[in-house]
């Protein structure tokens, strides 16, 4: 099935100025990528390959040095109401309760009336499973619960596109799987276009319609693998032979980038 394009990246280059060594550092070097409306895309790649940098560029937090990045044919130059980010670090205001933090996104955007925001925030809290914790402070929550708040804050702004920056990376294995399952459930309700960054290959395959593999730094698109596993997917799908085949293929693609010879890995020697 061919979807109309939502996000179009052509030859995206992102550069940093490194103050210490006084050099220009190229983090992302010519990314070409099209994401369809309602498509869930995950980007994986070796650490430091520029995948998070690319996501920040899509969010508009850092400028694109050359190339073009457009959402719904509008060029991205700064953060906008059509995108919302779920961060790796929850980034919750410690002096605000769960409810107050969920409201912060729409409050910053300043587009929704207070009553409407409050009503919808309660729905979001229900959706992410935090009923009963509205008045709790972030310091009273577990890591998984903090990420639920992080997610609810982004969802409340009702974006055109959801950006997720390794949101489950800091969680323990069981909590991470639970969160993946719940994220898919929530995503299934309105199937918003989503771009998910992760270094966890299984997570990428389990969540996404398509997995993009980035080259090592500076990042470019190396591979694009359509995940042909029907939805809804439950966690058992991770043991499906097709799933494992995808996993092997992506793993090898990343290994090529790391340039570690397979024999060395087999011999159990340090890379």
């Amino acid at each position: 099935m061919r979807r109309p394009a939502k996000l179009i990246a052509t030859g995206v280059v992102v550069e940093y100025w490194l103050a210490r060594s006084e050099k220009i550092f190229t983090a992302v070097d010519g990314v070409d990528l099209e994401i369809g409306d309602g498509e869930f895309v995950a980007i994986v790649g070796p650490s430091g390959c520029g995948k998070t940098t690319f996501l920040n560029a899509v969010d508009g937090l850092i400028p694109v040095a050359s190339g073009s990045l457009a959402l719904d044919r509008r060029e991205i130059t700064r953060p906008g109401h059509d995108r919302a980010m779920v961060f790796q670090q929850p980034g919750l205001l410690p002096w605000r309760t769960v409810l107050g933090n969920v409201l912060f996104g729409v409050e910053a955007q300043g587009t929704m009336s207070r009553d409407e925001a409050l009503r919808r925030a309660k729905q979001q809290i229900d959706l992410v499973g935090l009923v009963g914790f509205e008045d709790a402070y972030p310091s009273e929550l577990s890591g998984g619960m903090q990420q639920r708040v992080n997610l609810a804050r982004a969802l409340l702004t009702d974006p055109e596109m959801l950006l997720l920056d390794e949101p489950f990376a800091a969680l323990d294995a069981q909590t991470r799987e639970m969160m993946q399952l719940e994220l898919l459930k929530i995503w299934n309700r309105d199937r918003k276009t989503a771009l998910f960054i992760t270094h966890d290959i299984k997570e990428a395959i389990y969540l996404a319609d398509r997995v993009i593999v980035f080259t090592k730094r500076p990042g470019r698109v190396k591979d694009s693998i359509t995940i042909d596993i029907p939805r809804p997917r439950d966690l058992r799908v991770k043991r499906d032979p097709r799933f494992v085949a995808y996993e092997d293929r992506i793993w090898e693609s990343i290994q090529e980038e790391l340039a570690v010879k397979p024999e060395r890995l087999l011999a159990g020697m340090p890379a």
Binding site: P79, F87, G91, P94, W95, F104, G132, Y137, S139
Partner: protein, 286 residues
């Protein structure tokens, strides 16, 4: 159910209900633990006072060390004796502190915020703040008295300068201390600078600002007493100076203890306010 409550009907790990058996997994603090700090503190004060009284009674140090009872009597008499001028002294010192410390709060918070928020402002003021903060401002008292006279303006100037710098430095640190991750979140949602300042930077800086206020109190009280001690017509510092040179030891100690008590009380009150503003912080007190 709030997360602070524990449902007592839930089974424990052993499969018994909590009501029928004492739970060992949660250590409930003993009731007297809550009063432990107050109790030990009180005992310590009472003990030292008793030793002091005994030393005074034994006459080891004859004239110049009155006991706590004598000082207490002098303190009470200060406030009950119709001929006492303590009220004039109190009013004088009180007004000086109110103007000087109030001014330091108003100006210190503004300058601190500007220095924290605008880097260039900080570059411009940093040398001055560091210079004045490192200078013992007490040595400026004679100069201020020559410039501004022996009445309230010279005292206000000293109090103001004393309290100003801790407030500036703490406010600036509070603004600077804003969590970069929170700023990123706010920017990502398209928050304006004004909103970032009001909703992210300022609430995070409040505990720091209050710490600045608390540190400023000590400087303000020291400033007023020493300035009056050197030259003044009225004031608690003047009272201490007069009574000490005329060897009225009970009265002098009464004045010193009154000042110390005021300092303790103000610091305690500000500490309470600080704690109120930090109720969201995780409790790490043992």
């Amino acid at each position: 159910m709030s997360i602070k409550e524990v449902d007592r009907t839930l089974p424990t790990t052993r499969g018994e209900t909590a009501g029928t058996r004492e739970r060992r997994s949660v250590v409930q603090p003993k009731r007297w633990k809550r009063y432990e700090a107050t109790l030990i503190g009180t005992l310590s004060v009472v003990g030292v006072l008793a030793v002091w009284q005994l030393v005074a009674n034994a006459g080891l140090i004859p004239v110049f060390l009155p006991g706590p009872i004598a000082i207490g009597g002098a303190l009470a008499k200060l406030f009950t004796d119709p001929r006492s001028e303590i009220w004039i002294d109190l009013a004088t010192s009180g007004q000086e502190v109110a103007i000087g410390y109030g001014g330091a709060i108003a100006i210190g918070v503004v300058i601190g915020i500007l220095m924290g928020w605008y880097t260039r402002f900080q570059y411009a003021l940093d040398p001055w703040v560091n210079f004045f903060y490192s200078t013992p401002r007490i040595v400026l008292i004679p100069v201020f008295i020559i410039w501004l006279g022996i009445d309230w303006p010279s005292k206000v100037a000293i109090i103001f300068l004393g309290a100003l710098f801790p407030i500036i430095i703490n406010t600036m640190a509070g603004v600077r201390n804003t969590d970069a991750a929170l700023l990123r979140v706010a920017r990502s949602f398209g928050a304006s600078d004004a909103l970032i300042f009001r909703r992210v930077v300022l609430p995070g800086a409040v505990p720091f600002i209050l710490t600045g206020f608390r540190l400023g109190v000590g400087h303000a009280l020291t400033g007023v007493i020493v300035a009056e001690y050197i030259a003044a017509r009225h004031g608690v510092g003047k009272f201490i100076a007069d009574t000490s040179v005329t060897l009225q030891m009970e009265k002098m100690f009464a004045g010193v203890i009154f000042i110390a008590g005021t300092g303790v009380l103000l610091t305690w009150a500000l500490q309470r306010i600080e704690n109120r503003f930090q109720s969201w912080r995780p409790q790490i007190k043992s």
